[in-house]
């Protein structure tokens, strides 16, 4: 897939390599490095969120606290941004948050693969959200959902323009949602690799400067890993709120 000159380039880390070739009725379902890290992410998430709670302690330990913190973090987000009707969608939103968070964090490990640095993955997630929100909007409000595109308290003359803008912004949602996550992950990891390359090429004498920067950047990237999982989830909550309460 990659040319030989790109063997150790900063984009090499994003290459999807098949580990086990598999085909199902003409469909390529090969188990790739991307699949492996997705599987690892859900195994670790499951282990953390089930094993830590097996004690069911009244006073939680460290691991149980982490699980409870995750739960309450997402639960509060859903309650504050969607409202009490959001409870039904809480498992999905929680899964979304945990999946993205674990993918992002695992991507910070050296030699790992960041599944969320691929636009097709983030777009698939964003598109499912977009589709789900749109379906829920029409199921709950019928054609009243279209009120979402008609801002209230606007002069009639401006109405056609604003409706067009609202419709466009609505359809851009899955793109902005997916590109935000993908671009953050890809840019961050590319930067880390570029500065890693500087450390090596500048050698023992001058390599310290980019190394210091690399350490700071790694801290920032860990923060971004959390932040982007949060942003993706909270935007999903806001879209869901729009679907449940379309009137502006």
């Amino acid at each position: 897939m990659a040319e030989s000159t790109e063997q150790h380039g900063p984009l090499e880390q994003f290459e999807v390599k098949s580990l086990v070739d598999m085909h199902l009725g003409g469909l390529d379902v090969s188990f790739t490095n991307s699949s492996a890290w997705m599987v690892l992410a859900i195994i670790l998430a499951t282990l953390l969120l089930t094993l830590s709670m097996s004690g069911r302690a009244m006073v939680p330990g460290r691991w149980q606290s982490i699980s409870e913190l995750c739960y309450e973090f997402v639960a509060n987000m859903v309650r504050d941004n969607v409202g009490s009707e959001g409870r039904k969608y809480f498992p999905f939103i929680f899964t979304l948050f945990v999946f993205i968070l674990f993918s992002n964090i695992l991507g910070m490990l050296p030699y790992s693969f960041t599944t969320t640095s691929h636009i097709i993955v983030t777009f698939a997630l964003a598109f499912v959200v977009f589709l789900g929100v749109t379906v829920i909007g029409f199921l709950k409000n019928g054609l009243g959902f279209l009120k979402l595109f008609v801002p209230s308290g606007v002069p009639v003359a401006l109405m056609p323009l604003l409706v067009v803008i609202e419709v466009i912004s609505y359809f851009i949602r899955p793109i902005s949602l997916s590109v935000r996550l993908f671009a953050n992950m890809m840019a961050g990891h590319t930067m880390l690799k570029v500065f890693g390359g500087f450390v090596i090429s500048l050698g023992l004498l001058l390599g310290w400067a980019p190394l210091v920067f690399l350490v700071a950047l790694t801290g920032l990237e860990i923060g971004i890993a959390f932040l982007q999982a949060y942003v993706f989830t909270i935007l999903t909550c806001l879209y869901l709120h729009d679907a449940l309460h379309p009137g502006h």
Binding site: L11, F14, V29, S34, I42, F99, H118
Partner: protein, 163 residues
């Protein structure tokens, strides 16, 4: 750019669907209900403990006010008892004093009477002695027997002149 190699899209999408749905099922069916249960249990335990604390506080306050009331009552009755005892003691003391005073007055009267009697007796004794002595002195000096009644009147006259 590896992100735009379209032949990797199908395996990525297939495995994303598999892993995401699996994680969703595990979260929905196993992990989240368990966490929710533990959180609810803790919440209800806390609520129960708080209610219990409230109840005990109320009981303590009731007991305190009851104790205060009992204390006030006891203080009031103690005052009553002290006042009663004081009045009773005063009355007893007064009665006793009256008795003693009456007794003393009786004794004084008796003593005065006794002194008066003794004085009269002593005076009578003095007169008899004076009469005897005068008779004897007169008889010796004059050699004549003197009439007792004359001596008696002379002595009486002398004594009344002295008295």
């Amino acid at each position: 750019m590896p992100q735009l190699e379209f032949d990797t899209y199908t395996p990525q999408l297939v495995w994303l669907a598999i892993t995401f749905i699996l994680l969703y099922l595990v979260m929905w069916r196993v992990a989240l209900p368990r966490i929710a249960e533990v959180l609810e249990e803790r919440q209800s335990k806390l609520q129960h403990d708080l209610d219990e604390a409230d109840r005990l506080k109320g009981e303590a306050e009731t007991a305190l006010s009851e104790y205060d009331a009992a204390l006030g009552e006891a203080r009031g009755s103690a005052h009553g008892i002290v006042a009663d005892a004081r009045a009773k003691l005063t009355a007893e003391l007064d009665a006793h004093r009256h008795e003693v005073e009456a007794d003393l007055a009786d004794k004084t009267q008796a003593a005065e009477a006794a002194i008066l009697a003794a004085k009269q007796e002593a005076m009578a004794g003095v007169r008899a002695a004076a009469v005897d002595t005068t008779s004897a002195v007169v008889a010796r000096l004059s050699g004549n027997q003197v009439d007792d009644s004359a001596v008696g009147s002379a002595v009486d006259a002398a004594m009344s002149g002295r008295a």
